[in-house]
């Protein structure tokens, strides 16, 4: 049985697709067979971030409509043989997704995969609702900013009332906070909500903090999930997150401003 993870936020542009690509690659690199699904029907982007946009033949909606088999639609990653991408349809809209259709695809994937990562679209409409409906775990991607925090809380309400687990009275979805685009320097100046502020408000288990980083744009420019950029702060932050999710104990990093002096460099631990 696979574990289904939804990467969600309510608000757009906070880093869901960046996160989905990174953690799917991270889980696969740890040896777990992983599928990552783009639920943003009509606005497909995960293929670009994963660097497989030219290999898309069939998509999620084709599989739901039985115009293609799952095996035909899944794109095998060229860097990691444990990772598969199911792209969204670009020509349809979100109403092409049905609960039965999505449920069937996830059930079929569950037989073969260890993790299924669902990259949710923004909003609280069909695409977003179906991305979270079948989830076991939710990665709530939040920016330290008022609108994003509010939308995340709204999403938490939906996770706990409108998901399959909620409807069937099962154990609730496990919710994790991923605070992204974090600037310790601005937090220090009192211009940005801190990790503690956001946790006080949302009271969620913190899986990790991803700093605002140039490396994310570099990675998306070249179609390489940022987690593969092992030198980068954001890449390391995502590696920590995957490790923590899998039960490893890793101290939080990237919460304080980095000291760039000679001493900092000499004594920085590996």
């Amino acid at each position: 049985m696979a574990r289904i993870i939804v990467v969600t936020s309510g608000k757009g542009g906070v880093g869901k697709t960046t996160t989905s690509a990174a953690i799917a690659m991270g889980l696969a690199k740890k040896g777990h067979k992983t599928a990552v699904i783009d639920f943003d029907v009509g606005l497909r982007n995960l293929d670009l971030i994963m660097g497989c946009e030219r290999r898309v033949v069939y998509d999620f909606v084709n599989v739901i409509n039985e115009e293609a088999t799952l095996n035909q639609a899944l794109i095998k990653d060229k860097r990691c043989n444990q990772l598969y991408i199911l792209p969204a349809s670009q020509t349809r809209d979100k109403d092409a997704l049905t609960k039965e259709g999505v449920g069937k695809v996830l059930e079929e994937l569950s037989k073969d995969f260890k993790y299924i990562v669902c990259d949710s679209p923004a909003g609280i409409e069909r695409g977003a609702n179906l991305a979270m409906y079948f989830a076991d775990d939710a990665f709530v991607v939040t920016n330290p900013e008022v609108a994003s925090v509010r939308d995340s809380d709204r999403m938490l309400g939906i996770l706990s009332s409108k998901s399959r687990r909620a409807e069937q009275g099962d154990e609730p979805i496990k919710e994790y906070l991923l605070l992204t685009r974090y600037s310790p320097a601005r937090v220090k100046l009192g211009e940005m909500l801190s990790v503690d502020d956001v946790q006080d408000i949302l009271s969620l288990h913190l899986l990790g903090v991803i700093p605002e980083s140039q490396s994310v744009l570099n990675a998306s420019n070249s179609g390489i999930p940022v987690i593969l950029d092992e030198q980068s702060d954001a890449g390391q932050a995502y590696s920590d997150i995957v490790a923590r999710y899998l039960g490893e104990d890793r101290p939080h990093r990237f919460i304080e401003e980095e000291k760039k002096g000679l001493f900092g460099k000499l004594f920085r631990s590996k």
Binding site: D153, G157, M192, D197, D200, I201, L202
Partner: protein
């Protein structure tokens, strides 16, 4: 008072303003979210009943459900107009 102190003490940092606003807003939205779905309907019907006797405003009634560990309280608030005008 030095110039530095002056800058330090002027207005609260924007992040703390943000936090305070969010805490109030989210507490409010959470309690609204946890209310049973019949509350708006209940409120509408109660208003209709009260209106038979007193000429109250549309927003004169608020219904609120408090959930404790061991009990739920339905709190009903009716604001009567200055001079309760009884209908004939």
């Amino acid at each position: 008072m030095s110039l530095l102190d002056y800058f330090k003490s002027t207005k609260p940092k924007s992040a703390s303003v943000a936090k305070e606003r969010l805490q109030i807003l989210i507490a409010h939205e959470r309690s609204a979210r946890n209310q049973p779905s019949y509350l708006p309907e209940l409120q509408k019907e109660l208003l209709a009943v009260v209106k038979k006797y007193v000429d109250v405003d549309q927003d004169a009634i608020s219904v609120h459900l408090e959930q404790d560990v061991d009990q739920e309280t339905l709190e009903l608030n009716i604001v009567l107009p200055e001079e309760s005008v009884k209908k004939p």
